[in-house]
């Protein structure tokens, strides 16, 4: 227990230092990109020098970069994620609205992909059939290779345009406004296609890793020994092989959860889903520095926490892993 507390404390310190470094590097990197928020906003239609100067002054971008950095980090320490130049609003206000749509999409599909992918691998392994193995591998390769925007559009064309089962895009029906339970059903109805697409894309990752892990474990010496002393195959698989094989996909699952806050730029765009990915992409192309840094901060935090939780979880599952 003492070890555990020490471990947690050390990890927290590491996370704080890491986030500080991430923010510093990001700050200077994104300021180094060509153009600035004023350049993008004025674009090719209004590029007068007066407007650009006035905007830079308004945004505080006329100050030396070191001053801007200290100001930004000072605000961050006080819990202020910064201010979006473009939207004239605090970064947090803009990010907040995107968290729920993002997480419900990414986490739901990560969980589904994990369950389906791992189960598929287990099923194929127990089947011990060459053709079963082959077709599952083929399917996973195909899904892995398919570009997500293409799959998304094909899903739309099949399930929305042809079969008319699901709405094409968005999060809610806009022509009629539903409330209460009807509103929830409407939301889920809109959620099905994006979640299924994202799940399909992620299944191969879990399938392949679990499958490899099972094959590896089945070849271990202890399995041979246990088989030799007469442990039934079924028990052997369930008690030893499966338990040991679950660790690698679980690690991947943890990393995926960490990245869940970043959303999925491409699928959000295709399904017109108002998630974090699109907000981030807009912030990048508009050079909305502080909004972008706010998103990066949240990402760094989320990933650190997810990795941390995964590490602890794995330590419980696998006593060989020491928390030191």
């Amino acid at each position: 227990m003492q070890n555990m507390i020490k471990y947690i404390f050390r990890r927290i310190v590491a996370v704080v230092i890491m986030i500080f470094l991430v923010m510093t590097v990001n700050f200077f990197l994104i300021h180094a990109a060509p153009g600035g928020p004023a350049t993008v906003m004025t674009g090719l239609e209004f590029p007068s020098k007066e407007i650009i100067e006035a905007l830079n002054k308004q945004y505080g971008l006329d100050k030396p970069i070191a001053v801007q950095y200290l100001e930004y980090m000072g605000n961050l320490l006080r819990g202020n994620l910064g201010y979006s130049y473009i939207y004239s609003e605090s970064s947090w206000n803009l990010i907040e609205g995107r968290i729920f749509p993002t997480l419900i999409l990414t986490i739901t599909s990560s969980v589904l992909a994990f369950v389906i992918g791992v189960y598929m691998a287990i099923f194929v392994s127990r089947l011990r059939n060459k053709y079963g193995e082959l077709s599952a591998s083929l399917l996973s390769y195909i899904l892995y290779a398919v570009p997500s925007f293409w799959l998304a559009l094909i899903m739309i064309i099949i399930f929305s345009s042809d079969l008319k089962l699901f709405p094409t895009s968005g999060m809610l029906s806009l022509r009629y406004s539903y409330s209460g339970i009807e509103g929830v059903i409407d939301f889920i109805h809109h959620l099905v296609l994006p979640v299924s697409t994202l799940t399909l894309i992620q299944i191969p990752v879990f399938y392949r890793i679990t499958r490899t892990s099972i094959v590896q474990n089945q070849g271990e010496d202890y399995i041979t020994t246990l088989t030799a002393i007469g442990v039934p195959k079924e028990k052997l698989f369930r008690k030893y092989v499966m338990k040991n094989s679950i660790v690698p996909p679980l690690t991947i699952f943890g990393i995926m959860l960490g990245f869940s806050i970043t959303g999925t730029v491409i699928l959000e765009r295709v399904f017109a889903w108002p998630g974090m990915g699109r907000l981030m992409l807009d912030a990048i192309s508009r050079r909305d520095y502080q909004l972008l840094l706010g998103i990066y901060f949240l990402m760094a935090l989320f990933i650190s926490v997810a990795m941390f939780v995964t590490d602890i979880l794995i330590a419980f599952l696998d006593p060989r892993v020491r928390l030191t």
Binding site: A33, P34, G35, G36, T39, V40, M41, T42, G43, L44, E45, F46, P47, S48, K49, E50, I51, E53, A54, L55, Q58, I86, Y87, S88, L94, G97, R98, L153, I156, I157, S160, S161, K164, P167, T168, S169, G170, M171, L172, L174, R175, R269, V270, F271, A272, P274, G275, R278, L279, D282, S285, R287
Partner: protein
């Protein structure tokens, strides 16, 4: 006899139904597949193209533009311009109310314009450069005094960033200091005088509006208007074909072919005052194109009809040096050189660029991301290779492009488009010495003089004469090589009637006269 009655009865029904279908029906909600997310609902403080398409339904201007770029009355029912062009007197409609019930008066107009003139970052700020003062002698009269005559002023007043805003909500203080109009809470839920009232905005998802029954041009036919933000054009197309959307405002030119074959789908692909053109580096960093002969040689080597057919497909091949979408200012006799490879080769030989190992010289063509741009660039590269000019292509995202081309002048050739209205005075920006969008670094004192005279001339015939001459000079100097005219890309279902771009005399983004025939 019975038969006769029956027939006449049937005819009567047919006529009745026919008539009934042309009288607008009220009710219904129109859903628009919209391309972008507005920054805020302050229509004048920032450049916000995504907002501009929505502001026109919530707010009104003093005067506005219709789809043919005519200046038409809006809050002002009429106006007089003094003979010397120095005094504009606007007569406002009486009884106009803000959507919160307060009266809209000349005081709101004066406040809005003063605000634009005091905020250098306001998009319309530069268009007010010639304004001396804005005054309200009474509640329904606005007088604008000019420092110098500026004939494009009315068009610019009717265009961008000039929506009249409610003084009573924006002229406020907090703890004794005035609140910046950028931070006003009404930027999130606007109050205007337009045909629709703001209901809800979920950022990145949709904007919902409901009709304003007190609208001064009459109660809108639609009950509501929804701007459904669908950034992906393929998805927008599917939503439109699936009936979730009535009007697709996010059509890519490449989709027009498919849409034209669809039943119950109507398309507007008329010319818009924007054009694709190739700009030469005429006076920025050193480039072979500082030499006029070389520019002409390139023009002869290029086949813009082929570029158009392969890369653009919809619109028109360019023939002159200004947009034909503003016909009064378009000079049809200032022509672009036509394809003639032999002549191109001769000119390049004469200009001192002989063919060595199949190449005369190497240049860089810089363009920004986008299918049509990269297609055009590739075809230009191929066409110029045939006369021995080797073209290196460089593609950048917009911010980097602006930095490199607009600010840095670091290119030989570049591809551009962009709005050339609402008035030909826009040419000052594109070809005037030091103009904001004059990427070429082109400078001709004669052009500058003509443009300045055109902007001060009072009547349209006189102005047209100056602009015609400018285009003639451009055709001789050739700082740009126009390729094609850009078209509107709107698709809508055949039951949607009275969209603003199908009418004249109503503002470009005003859906007050739109109705659903269902």
């Amino acid at each position: 006899m019975k038969k006769f009655f029956l027939v006449s009865f049937l005819i009567a029904i047919v006529i009745f139904v026919g008539v009934a279908s042309t009288t607008p029906t009220r009710g219904g909600t129109m859903v628009i597949a919209y391309w972008g997310d507005p920054i805020s609902f302050n229509p004048d403080a920032q450049i916000d193209d995504a907002g501009y398409g929505i502001y026109g339904s919530i707010f009104s201007k003093l005067v506005t533009l219709d789809a043919s770029y005519n200046v038409i009355p809006d809050l002002a029912k009429s106006w007089d311009i003094s003979k010397d062009g120095l005094t504009y007197t606007f007569h406002l409609r009486k009884g106009v109310k803000w959507q919160d019930g307060q009266p809209c008066t000349a005081a709101d107009v004066v406040w809005t314009f003063d605000q634009i003139m005091s905020d250098k970052a306001a998009p319309a700020h530069a268009n007010f450069a010639a304004v001396e003062s804005v005054e309200a002698p009474n509640d329904y009269t606005v007088v604008i005094k000019m420092k110098r005559p500026y004939s494009a002023f009315l068009s610019f007043l009717a265009w961008y960033g000039t929506f009249i805003m409610p003084k009573h909500l924006y002229d406020i203080t907090e703890n004794g200091s005035p609140v910046s109009w950028l931070n006003n809470p009404y930027n999130q839920h606007p109050i205007g005088t337009g045909p629709f009232k703001f209901v809800k905005w979920v950022k990145g998802a949709y904007v919902i509006l409901t009709k304003n029954p007190d609208y001064f041009l009459g109660e809108p036919y639609l009950d509501g208007l929804v701007f459904d933000e669908i950034p992906d054009q393929n998805t927008a197309l599917q939503s439109f074909l699936n009936g979730e959307v009535d009007f697709d405002d996010n059509v890519d030119v490449s989709q027009l072919g498919i849409l034209k074959k669809m039943p119950h789908v109507l398309i507007d692909d008329s010319l818009t005052p924007s054009r694709y053109y190739l700009a030469f580096n005429v006076g920025r960093r050193p480039s072979p194109f500082h030499d006029k002969e070389v520019r002409f040689a390139v023009a002869y080597a290029l086949n813009r009809e082929q570029i158009f057919n392969l890369a653009i497909k919809y619109g028109e091949v360019a023939e002159g040096f200004y947009t034909p979408a503003i016909p009064w200012a378009y000079n049809p006799s200032a022509k672009i050189p036509d394809y003639n490879v032999k002549l191109a080769n001769e000119m390049l030989d004469k200009a001192g660029y002989p063919l060595k190992n199949g190449t005369r010289f190497t240049v860089t063509l810089v363009y920004f991301q986008g299918q049509e741009w990269s297609d055009m660039a590739k075809i230009i590269k191929e066409q110029l290779a045939k006369v021995g000019i080797q073209v290196n292509l460089e593609e950048y995202e917009l911010a980097t492009y602006i930095q490199k081309v607009l600010k840095g002048g670091d290119f030989d050739l570049t591809l551009l488009d962009g709005f050339q209205g609402p008035d030909p005075d826009n040419l000052v920006l594109r070809v005037g010495t030091g103009g904001d969008i004059n990427v070429m670094g082109y400078s001709n004192p004669e052009v500058d003089k003509l443009l300045s005279e055109a902007s001060q001339a009072s009547n349209i015939e006189e102005r047209a004469k100056y602009y015609f001459e400018v285009q003639t000079i451009l055709s001789q100097d050739l700082p740009i090589y126009p390729i094609a005219e850009v078209v509107n890309t709107y698709a809508y279902k055949d039951y949607v009637e009275g969209l603003p771009f199908t009418l004249t005399g109503i503002g470009i983004n005003n859906y007050a006269k739109t109705w659903l025939k269902k």
